[in-house]
Symmetry: none
Subunit: 192 residues, 4 copies
């Protein structure tokens, strides 16, 4: 009888927003952004189409929030103590956590990769993402330099490419990618 409190409303909103984002990521990840319709998302989330627009201004806004939330996790992965310098221990930590994130958030990674392949979608978050990647590239290069590698820049590029390639192959080969063995290989290659 008494109206819901502000807190109650907030909870409802938060829960439902998370639900929508989860469902949408799921579908965007498996079928792609354009192939997934708002109707699809609403149906799978078991809500009306209209309600979705109560939470997100547009389909574009929805994917932007999903991606940004993914980038947040990525940012945490990189340089956890935020001093801009990478130690050998941190590199290992990074590799291990990369694989954890990869496995836990497969759908996000699919979205992440397809993001780069579609100019219009990429534009939504490009700046932030490029900056994040650039900062990590710098840290890596410094690290390889300090370890005495011959061409630290190429080394960084290769390191990044390998991770991208592994990620791509993993999220792309339905289920039979031996991710654990590949992880060990990476650690052997870079942290022995």
């Amino acid at each position: 009888m008494a109206p819901r409190t502000k807190k109650q409303f907030e909870n409802i909103r938060e829960e439902k927003k998370k639900l929508i984002m989860t469902v949408a990521l799921e579908l965007f990840g498996s079928d792609g952004y354009h192939t997934t319709s708002i109707s699809d998302i609403a149906r799978k989330a078991d809500i009306s189409k209209g309600l979705l627009y109560n939470y997100f201004d547009s389909k574009e806004e929805l994917i932007r929030e999903i991606i940004n939330s993914g980038i947040d996790k990525l940012a945490k992965l990189i340089d956890p103590n935020r001093d801009g310098v990478l130690t050998k221990g941190e590199l290992r930590y990074f590799i291990e956590n990369f694989f954890i994130l990869l496995i836990e958030e497969q759908k996000f990674w699919k979205l992440y990769f397809s993001l780069f392949l579609q100019a219009p979608v990429l534009a939504l978050v490009e700046d932030r993402l490029r900056r994040l990647i650039a900062s990590y590239f710098l840290m890596l290069t410094n690290y390889f330099e300090s370890q005495g590698y011959e061409d630290p820049q190429i080394e960084s590029l290769m390191f990044g490419a390998i991770l991208d390639g592994i990620g791509f192959n993993f999220v792309t080969s339905l289920s039979d990618f031996p991710v654990d063995r590949v992880k060990e290989k990476m650690i052997k290659m870079y942290c022995k």
Copy 2:
């Protein structure tokens, strides 16, 4: 003037078909499959929409032919003498040609990568592609085994992942990817 022979007509037809596919690949590659409309393609190819349907039964058929034609080139790259065995020389040849193909056909590679990220589109060519990749993976594994690598399977996976990663980074980073230096690094790593 003598009427055109059947042969001539076929040539014209073939030319126009190639034109459409080139234009379509260009647009699919830069803007994405769903974002590119049949109208866009027809306009850029300077033909009518109707004529396009004279050559391709549907948009899906069009992309399928484009991808298959790309896969043809890929297939030629792999095991050129088709004996199912890879020699050291052939591996080097493969790497070098991979980079040539990568640079010449950037747009195709973008399409190729996005292919894997969209289940519905992938379905169109999945079988052939998976078979091609599997056959190459086998050849590679045999090769690494013959070279005495400890874990040839992982080695193959890594090799594939690296190429994918490099390709992905190249087609994705607009222009500043030092592809030549990366190629040298690959050759140093695998063909020294």
Copy 3:
């Protein structure tokens, strides 16, 4: 504190209803009926959408009440002593009050004019309005006849048209309409 009496409750209700109508008129007047959403009104009135429906059964009902309330004022303007006869003094009184009403209730007049231009909306109040206008037209015609005008009917039509035209131009030209000078002109024309 003593509980509020029934009377008090009714007063509060009446106040809130008036508030909603004022806000709605404001928005309908400046943005138009269809362009203004219930949400807009609720937000500006600082109440919930639900509460608005506690006072008005529908958006249509809301505008109908607003218009009827406006027509009430109009009716008061016309023939204040309700004897159906217009004297020279009353005509002057009418003109002067018309201008006062025009200035005070610009937003209502905008709504009033647009009312006539939209068949579906007009239907809501058409009868009452047509009757009111007809009755005034009759009074005017009688008046002009009694004053010896040659064609009292046309005279009435022109008089009405002039007022409408002035009103229309006033509410329509943002701010620079010299309403006072026009009023003087009208008085000179009709009440010299």
Copy 4:
């Protein structure tokens, strides 16, 4: 069998475009811009919704073209010899043609009036319209001055208001407005 010529296509386009504009004006005029849906227009024009968008980029573009085409006629009405000066004969010509236009294009005038009452729609053509009106106002004022009127500016305003009022009453009172007698009255008032 042979494809249609360019000319044929142009004719089709022109005819159909005119049809759509006529139907749309009809509906916008009687029911209002927002109340009239694209479906309504397509149904009445006996075409598909999609085709409408082959001719107009948006509903807004459609109304803009309709209004601009109306303003074209208006512009022709004003100062036919385009010397910026109004003679007594031209004023009479103007009045008479105003009434002709009013009768012939009732629906446009309804749209024209409602245009001024809705800020967002007005914005589409505001500049052009304001300029046109301003230029006519100037000509009128000069004219009344040359004729020795006491307050030419007010005289112009009144003249414009009367025409607006007449037009408004005419397009608004379904059928019983004695437009001919009112015209005579106007001529008597201004061109005697």
